[in-house]
Symmetry: C2
Subunit: 313 residues, 2 copies
């Protein structure tokens, strides 16, 4: 009997990643979409179109799991609010089920990602795990006492909005000094830009002069190549992430913090300084591991597929 | 049949409060002890002496529950480490059971307090509640999905060591800018002292000149009497507490934050500014209530008694 297959869709803030996923977590027929600036109707159309493309290649798919960057009411299957996509107050599950004619499951994107990492990835075998997805912003997810933790209204796990600098810059969320503005991929770009301004003759400075901006991925590449200024910019962001990890350790006492999202491309250049702050400043003996996501940028898609595999079991 | 009775002991950082507690939570024969500076042997002797005094008045007590300001291994009944009392690595439960000849139950002091507030007090009827005990330091406790949450090693709920100012003052724990140094009762005294130095002719300034120090309870009294400088000192500490509440809301999405400990004597002068920051900066619609402890400074003692009442049921 061929393995059971479903479609997993990770609808991130700037891009969609989808694929057919079988019960052994093997992925086929990946599709990618970008949707910067799309309105609600266009966003939903892109999602439907992506699923239809995958389904054409895998007509046996039993259903679709979605991870979306929203506050999700998982009981009702609605997207309650999203700072990244125009999906406030959308009955996403029912709407997709109707348009696609397939069973649909829905959760927050990083809830899906931590589910995949907990069950089969970097947090496997633990009962208490947290996940940070460092990208344009910072998403989060929690597994506590072996289960996805959602809080009283389903809004728990917004680890990007842990306040680490009460006097820090404003966050788009309305807070001050949230991790999201200080330790995301975007923040690596900002730290690199500040370094570039201070040293106009440096490689970073020349890039800023030429392009008018320095992005997080360029700073990361340069750091991997050994550039001192870029290394320090990445390390500074890592130390801020470390302060957030100290809070999470002291509040939740998890076994592992899994770091995913695009910014984890910086690897130990980012995670090393974060771990140093955690060990120096966290309460009690060093014990919480800080590790990159096992599934890289596919944790969310695989977790979304797990929602559908579980649901159609 | 007379109600079942146990002894509850809240062994705090600077003082012990104990009493006989019946199954209706009525308290008799309260005892108080202070133990600033006592070594381990003396601390344990004070505890035993307090229990014996209560027991003389209530020989029917079925057992003793203790809340202690330590990282507690609740399985083994040991005090693993404490920053407030000389109780590192003490087999507290077995030691007390042997000296007292009574069954003994043990937990962290604020775990005990949140248990009492959740079951019978300010967090009654909720499934997700947090508690901050604002005193010399800040203790914390969590009820998640209806149960006391301990984390992977029993160290969860150290809400006083949530980092809110990455550039802030050192905390005795080794961290930087923890809530404990910025929003405890001690912090109210420090904020008042700073205000006193800046305005030597003020009431605060004159008290500083006369006594060489300004304590948190004096600043709080003065604020209740309407003194502008004292009001602002308490409000500033309240706003810092508010930043910590923003993190807790965004991470855990609880229904209620219960604020206990001596510093809650400031009431809405402290909690008002904290709530304002929470509402302005927390994610999503306002929903987490911030309320004073229903049992005042007796939550810990009552929770300790509940451990014993549950255990001897």
């Amino acid at each position: 009997m061929p393995p059971k297959r479903v479609i997993g869709i990770d609808a991130g803030g700037t891009k969609l990643l989808g694929g057919v996923v079988d019960e052994h977590l093997v992925v086929h027929h990946r599709v990618h979409r970008r949707w910067r600036g799309a309105d609600r109707a266009e966003t939903l159309r892109i999602v439907v179109d992506a699923v239809e493309e995958i389904r054409a290649a895998a007509p046996d798919a039993l259903g679709v799991g979605f991870g979306i960057p929203s506050l999700v009411d998982s009981q009702r299957g609605t997207s309650v609010a999203s700072v990244h996509l125009p999906l406030d107050d959308v009955p996403f599950r029912d709407l997709m089920a109707e348009r696609l004619g397939l069973p649909v499951w829905l959760d927050n994107d990083v809830n899906a990602a931590v589910l995949a990492e907990h069950r089969h990835g970097a947090a496997r075998g633990t009962s208490h795990a947290v996940m940070f997805a460092l990208g344009t912003g910072i998403g989060g997810g929690l597994v506590l006492d072996g289960r996805l933790y959602r809080g009283a209204t389903g809004a728990a796990g917004e680890l990007g909005h842990t306040v680490v600098d009460i006097h820090g810059p404003r966050c788009p969320c309305g807070g001050c000094g949230c991790l999201e503005v200080l330790a995301s991929g975007t923040a690596i770009g900002i730290a690199g830009t500040e370094a570039a301004r201070a040293a106009p003759r440096s490689v970073l400075g020349q890039r800023l002069e030429a392009d008018g901006a320095v992005g997080g991925s360029f700073v990361t590449e340069l750091a991997h190549a050994g550039d001192e200024l870029a290394l320090e910019a990445v390390a500074e962001v890592g130390r801020r992430l470390g302060a957030g990890l100290v809070s999470i350790l002291n509040i939740l006492d998890p076994e592992v913090a899994v770091i995913g999202g695009g910014a984890v491309a910086a690897g130990d250049l980012l995670l090393g300084p974060a771990r140093e702050v955690l060990v120096a400043q966290g309460l009690g003996p060093p014990r919480m591991r800080v590790v990159p996501a096992h599934f890289g940028d596919e944790s969310g898609m695989l977790g979304a597929a797990l929602l559908a595999l579980d649901g159609s079991a």
